[in-house]
Each structure stands twice: as C-alpha cells, then as structure tokens.
Amino acid sequence: MNLTELILELVLMPFVAFVIGLGMVLMMRKIAARLQRRVGPPLFQPLYDIVKLYAKRTQTSHGMVHDIGIVMAVGGYIAAETLLPMPGMNGIAEKGGLITLMYLMMVPSLGMALGVGQCANPNGSIGIGRALTAMLAYDVPFVIVVFGVAWHFGSTNLVSMIDIQQAGGISTWGAAQMPLLALAGLFTLHGMLGKQPFEVYIAPAEIATGPMVEMSGKHMGGLFVMQSFQLYTAAALYVTLFLGGGENWLFFIAKCFAVLAVPVSLAYLFPRYRTEDMLRLMWKWPVLVGLVGLAFVMR
C-alpha cells in the first residue's frame, strides 16, 4: 500500500467510526424510549446535541488541564480507530495489534480523568474514582478474553484474525469456536460501556453525574463525541474478535448495531449496582466463564 492511500485511510477511519457512533447513540436512546413507552428522539438529534453544546455562548473552563483532558479524550479515540480494521481499510492495525489497542483505549479515559480532576469538584473526583474502579472490574475478564482469542488465532494481529474467520465461514467465527469466551466478552462489553446497572460512577441523584458535573458547552460536547467513539469501538472490537469482522459494510454495520443492542436493551431493565457489587459480579461470573472458556481454547 502506498503512503497516500494509508493517510487517506487514517483520515477516513475515525470519521466513519464517528458517524456510525452517532447512529449508535441514536439507537441507544430509541431503545430506552421504546422500553419506557416514549417515542424517542428524531434521526439527527445526536448531531444537533453536539452542535448545540459546541455553539453555546457560555463556555466555562477550569484551567488548561480541563481543556487538554477533553483533547486527549477525543484524540485518544481518533487514534484508536486507526488500529481497528473496517471493511476494506486496515489503517495501522498491523503495526499495533490487540494489546496496543487495549492500552490505547485507556488514554482517553486518562484524559477525561485529568480533565475532571482539574475541575476541583469532589463529585467529579468521586466519579472518576468509581470509573477507574469499574475499569479494574471489567478489565480482568476482558484480559482473559483477550488472551483466549489471541491464543486461538495464534496472533495479536487483528487483520489476520479477521482473515482467518472470513476464510473459514461462520463455523470458524470466534463466537462459534469460543462460545464461553464470547459470552464473557459480552459481559465485559456491557461493563465497558458504563450503562445500567454499571453506571454508579455517574449516579445522577447521588454524585450529580460524577465526571460530568463540571462539564458544559464544548467540554460536554467533547465527551459526547467520545461516547460516540466509545460505543463504536467496543462494538467493532467485539465483531472483530467473535463475529468475523466485516465482509462488507452492510454486514459490518448490522453486526455492530446488533452487538450493541444486547447490552443496551438489558441496561434499562436493571437497577444500579454499587461499586463493590460491580467488582464482585465482574470478578465472579465473567471471570469464571472466561477461565473455563480459556481452558477449552488451550486444551
């Protein structure tokens, strides 16, 4: 591949990811609305929200780190998208691989944590403390899944994982070969998204939305963009590891939305777990299922 093509891919991949992510935000809100017998927002509402937040006249900043935190949060995800293959575009996926992606996905979280910390609001700090604890909760089953998948495919290269699954058909998909790991992965995905019942770090009635408490205007808009990326990244990664990646755009987008619909639909049926309950849950069931799945993969 020549350099121009690669640079074009590096520009296109985050952009496409963002657009799909906006669609996912819409789907999430629609599902919530339907479960609560409401109509839900119109098609372009996520976009309107971002435009509104960026265009607000009152934009308060608590200092440089507050701003840079948002830059890191958005920038980190833009970089992460170039490591996650899309149909026809691999970006720099082969120069990084699964472990690099896993760690790069922590950079936006760190950025957000720095930005929130600078706001000097204890509700924000408590929220970040809880969010990082949540990461400790869901990342333990997640690394078990990562190990199992990488061992199964014999590589951490996401492109070669997709190639293997697409060459062999549905029976070679990660989900067919490693059903237990796929189940544990779905659990992890739910925790990673921070949706109910795992949203104790937002807890609006208790800590006034936690990390978002001092965010308004562009800062909130930045977090909205980050959420769109986050939804896409989590879903696309799951599709890559377990559902054969994207043969073409239609299948790819359909799979991504379908994967995301599972945790999002479940989310609104549950109350909220406390932090220690989330830890207990994540360290018990997905870890157990994941370890059993791992034992099957490595036998």
Partner: protein, 624 residues
C-alpha cells in the same frame, strides 16, 4: 601506558569519591560531582556495547585466588543507567536544593559517589569472588545512603536502613554459602567453571543453590517476601539519594540474578528443574514470585498517603516485571525485562524528582494535604504526567513498550494466569498513579500554596530530561533496543530481532513510530476540534463555584483525597492483612527469643563449663 575505557571509568569514579571526601562540604561540590558523573558517562560511551569483553588492567592476586574486573554488554548496560541516574540525581541536588539542605553535604556527596564506584565494581565482576566483594561494597554503600535520612518515629529512615542491613547481611551469608558449595564442586570462582559445575549438579543441590541465590539477590531487588524494608528505606533519604536509590540501586539484584540464573545456570536448566510434589519447575516458581511481587506491592502502593512511599512501593512492583520478563527466557520476554529496567529507571527518576520538587516548595508530600499545584508548578506537573503515563505502561511512553514485550511473550509462551496477573498489576498501577497526580496537582489549590513558585531550573532540567528520555525511547525504541540485544547476547540468550519502531513478527508486531505519530496527529485533530470550533471558553476561578447551595471560600476544603477508591476498598480492604509484616515480626521474635535464651544460658552457667564442653567435643571429633 594508556588506560583502556574501563580503567578510565574506575579512575574517574575513584577520583570523584576522593574529591567528595576532601571537599564535599564546599557549596560547588554538587556541580563538581555532576561533572564527574558526566565524564564517567562519556567514558562509558567510549565502549562499543557489542564488542567482546574488556578487562581492567587492575586486579588483585593472592595465592590461587584473584579479583579481576571486566565489562561485557550486560554490565555496560547497567553501568550506563547507573551513571546516568547518578548524573540526574546529582544535577538535581546541586543547585538550589543543596542551599536548603541542612544535613552534611560531604556525607551526601561521598555516599552517592561511593555508591556509584561500588556499583561499577560489582557490575564489572570477572568472577564470583569479585561479585561477592562488589556485592558487599554495594550493600554497605547503599546503607550509607539510606541512613542519611536519619531520625526516628515519624521519620523511620534509620530504622529502615538498619532493617535493610539485616536483610543484606542475611543475603550475604546466603551468597557466601552458595559460593562455598560452588567452590567445593569446581575448585574455582571463575564463571566458566561455575557454569560447568551447575551443568552437572544434582537436582537437590541445584535447588538449594537457586534458593540461596534468590535469597541473596532477591533481598536487594525486594522480591516477595523480602520486600518490607525497601519503601521506608528509599523514601526518607534526601532527594538525590532517593532518586538514585529508587531508579537503579535495587536493580543490582536483577543484574546479579541475570548473571547467576540466566548466564551460569541457564533458563532451560531452570525449566527442567522440577519442584518436588508439584507440577511446577524452578522457572515457574521464580515467575510466580515475580508476579506476586508485581501485584501485592502495587496494591500496597494504592493505599499509601505519602507520594514518596507510593512511588517506592511501585518500585518494588516494577522489579517484578523485570524478573518476570527475564525468567521467561525467550527473545521477546528477556528483551522486555531488560528494557523495563532502562525505562523504569528514567520513569522513576522523573517521578521522584517531581515529587521531591513539590516537597522542596511545600515542605511535605502528604497526599491528603495538597492539591491544585498545576496552577503554580505547571512544568513539574508535565514531568509527573510523563512519568505516570510511563509507569502505568500506556502509549506513547517507553513503559508501554517494555510491558508490551512482556505481555506478548507471556501470550506466545501460553501463560494465561501469569498474563492476567501481570495485567492486574498494571490496572492497579493506573488507579494508583491517578490518585498521585490528582491529589498533588489537580483539584483545589490550598490558600497557603497560592504564592509558591515553580521548581528551580536546576531541578527542572534533569527532571524534564529524564521524562523526555522516557518519551523519546517510547516513540523510537530502536534507540536503546540495540543495547538490550547486545546484553541478551552476552547472557547467552536468544537475541531480539528488532525494527525501527519496535518488533515485527507474524504473531505480534509493534511499530511505535506509527502508533505515536498517529496518536499525536489525533491529539492535534482533537485540539483543532476543541479550540477551533464553537464558542470561546472563559477561564473561571476555582472558587467561582458552589457546594450544597453555598459559595466556596478558601477555608472550605473542597478536594476529595482521602480513601480515594472507597468502593474498591469496601471489597478488597479486608484482604490487606499485613501477613508479611506478621511473618517478619514472627521471625524477628523467634530469632530474638533464641538469642536471649542463649545469652541467658551463657550468663547463668559458668564460662569454664563451655570451655570444658568445647574441648571435649573437639577431642571427640578429632579422635572419632
């Protein structure tokens, strides 16, 4: 006669020590020492790390025993990092810091110079006897540096240093025991003879040798359960001492373990050595000790409320990663372990210098009584930020590259539990370093800190230089992977085939040049989106806020710091049982009981009886 680079190095280190002993009290002595370390670093770069072994002209011969010194690529690598750490530490403490220092300057400078000389002598050991001598010199020099903190009660430096001494002497006895056994087997202290003796040694004897060496060198590396002394001993010393101790001194244990376990015994031999009644080998046992050394001290760090202690506990944990990588024995794993030693030295030096800069300005490092300092010390904040990203092992810093290598090696070797356990250590590190930067630099600035200044330039330059080193070697690992590959070669390990940006293989590839390039381009796009689009942001004062319906004032503490991870501690808080403290105190009580009993008995019974008993026993032994 012309001096070879090794002799020049020893000469410079010796002259430095002499100068500091003579004129260490002088105000400019810190700068002179810094120049000496700079000269030593230059002398080191006169070597070619990939060259064959270079011998010193200096040696000591007595009957059949000889002490001789030589440098190979492994020793060179550790020497470069040691001297560079001393250079940074000395520079840091040479300017304004020294003017405020109330202790003895001569003692501080001489202790640092003595440590460097002792460590160079250890690293250059040409045989096991020289290694023992160097090991002892390093231990005592380290004690001197640790004891500088002095004090008691609230400042337990001296007690911690004494505790270290007990561990060091126990370790030395273990080492002596191992060397005696080895000499019995091969009638020589030479490396080649030791290698041959290990190859033919019976399993039980080899096991006891491995355990003795682990006891001897593991105490310095603070491997579990020999780790309790390190955090207080390293934290309480004056800033340059703490920076030097924290970044490299403990790693001498790693060097010695690399020489003995990898070069002399060999990883394959360890993998074949089965632990009786289990399915584990000696290699597995050491890997699990390393992983426990990663996890338990890291989660102890999470609970610290003093920034220096927090970093010192992480230092113990990071040593575990190095040993884990090394004991895997593969090209990728051992490269990761050795690379982590380099990366971590730069990272820890940056972090400690930033924390001690806060201490220099504010007077303490209590994480519950600080906050918001980014407004007053932005460059120190930047250094700490670089440091924590590297310590947590996230891109784009160098700490990520070495941890990536260790993870990938564990993956390729099919070690799932070790892999998961080492990632759990990394996750704990992320939690802990966020608490560090949050409680120091973010949030509400206290009223009494509103007028403090940024750290002085003499402290900022080495701090930022170390941070920059950790960044540049993260973006372009090729700069130091050559050193690592040469060290692997000198240990007789498979050598890592590296590329410009890291590693390229079908099973795991990493090109940091691209990853870092794309990451920074993305930050650029993020910045354009934030600053270029939408309304103009307005900076507001930290008290332009309200809590519970009241406006904020300076008297109202509005910074969340204590029990930072309350939810986590709710679950795992009960798991901190202080078992190792209990074990240590139980051993100490046991030993003191035996000592008291023996002393009491000696006083109770006439000494003449002992003389008679000893003579009778001696006669019996001679006759029978």
């Amino acid at each position: 006669m012309s001096l070879n680079p090794l002799d020049t190095l020893f000469l410079l280190a010796g002259l430095n020590l002499l100068a500091m002993l003579l004129i260490g009290q002088w105000r400019g002595a810190g700068w002179l020492a810094t120049l000496f370390y700079g000269a030593q670093l230059l002398a080191l770069f006169q070597f070619d790390p990939s060259q064959t072994i270079q011998h010193s002209a200096f040696s000591i011969q007595h009957s059949t025993l000889a002490l001789n010194w030589q440098f190979d690529a492994l020793a060179w690598l550790f020497a470069v990092i040691s001297v560079a750490a001393a250079l940074a530490a000395s520079w840091y403490g040479a300017g304004e810091w020294l003017r405020k220092y109330t202790g003895s300057r001569r003692l501080l400078h001489s202790a640092l110079a003595g440590n460097v000389l002792a460590m160079l002598l250890l690293l250059a050991s040409g045989d096991l006897l020289t290694l023992f001598v160097g090991w002892e010199a390093t231990s005592w020099a380290g004690f001197l540096l640790m004891a500088l903190g002095g004090g008691s009660g609230q400042k337990p430096a001296r007690e911690a240093a004494l505790k270290y001494l007990v561990y060091a002497i126990a370790g030395a006895m273990a080492l002596l025991g191992a060397l005696v056994v080895l000499f019995q087997a091969g009638h020589s202290f030479g490396f080649a003879q030791a290698q041959a003796s290990f190859a033919t040694m019976s399993a039980p004897l080899l096991w006891s040798m491995v355990l003795l060496f682990l006891l001897a060198f593991g105490a310095k590396l603070a491997l579990l359960p020999l780790h309790l002394w390190q955090a207080p001993a390293y934290s309480e010393t004056p800033a340059p001492g703490a920076v030097f101790l924290g970044s490299i001194v403990g790693r001498m244990g790693l060097f010695a373990l690399a020489v003995v376990l990898v070069k002399l015994i060999g990883i394959e031999h360890l993998a074949d050595l089965a632990l009786p009644f289990t399915f584990l080998s000696a290699q597995d046992l050491i890997a699990w000790i390393a992983v426990l050394t990663i996890i338990l001290p890291t989660y102890t760090a999470l609970k610290q409320n003093d920034a220096r202690y927090l970093l010192a506990w992480h230092g113990i944990g990071q040593g575990g990663y190095m040993l884990l990588g090394l004991v895997l024995g593969t090209a990728l794993g051992t490269a990761g372990g050795l690379l982590h030693m380099i990366n971590y030295a730069a990272t820890q030096a940056t972090l400690l210098m930033a924390v001690f800069a806060v201490m220099h300005r504010v007077g303490h490092t209590d994480l519950n009584n600080l906050g918001g300092l980014v407004a007053r010390m932005p460059l120190t904040f930047l250094a700490l930020l670089l440091g924590i990203i590297s310590l947590a092992g996230l891109p784009p810093m160098s700490g990520f590259v070495s941890k990536w290598m260790i993870y990938s090696a564990l993956l390729q070797e099919g070690r799932p539990l070790l892999f998961v356990a080492s990632v759990i250590g990394t996750l704990g590190t992320i939690l802990s370093v966020y608490k560090l930067i949050h409680n120091l630099f973010l949030g509400q600035l206290r009223v009494e800190h509103e007028k403090i200044d940024e750290a002085p330039l003499s402290m900022l330059i080495p701090m930022l230089a170390c941070g920059l080193f950790a960044f540049v070697t993260g973006a372009a690992p090729v700069l130091i992977l050559g050193w690592v590959a040469a060290a692997q070669d000198s240990l007789g390990l498979p050598v890592l085939a590296y590329t410009l940006g890291g590693v390229s293989s079908p099973r795991a590839s990493l090109d940091m040049l691209w990853v870092v390039g794309v990451l920074f381009a993305s930050f650029g796009v993020g910045a354009v989106l934030f600053y270029g689009i939408g309304g103009k942001t307005q900076r507001i004062h930290q008290f332009d806020n309200y809590a519970g319906g009241h406006f904020l004032t300076g008297e109202m503490r509005y910074h969340y710091s204590d029990n930072f991870y309350a939810g986590l501690m709710h679950l795992i808080g009960g798991w901190y049982r202080g078992s190792f403290l209990w074990l240590e105190s139980a051993i100490a009580s046991g030993v003191s009981l035996v000592a008291n009993a023996a002393g009491g008995w000696y006083r109770a019974v006439s000494p003449g009886f002992y003389l008679l008993a000893a003579t009778t026993l001696l006669l019996a032994w001679v006759l029978l």
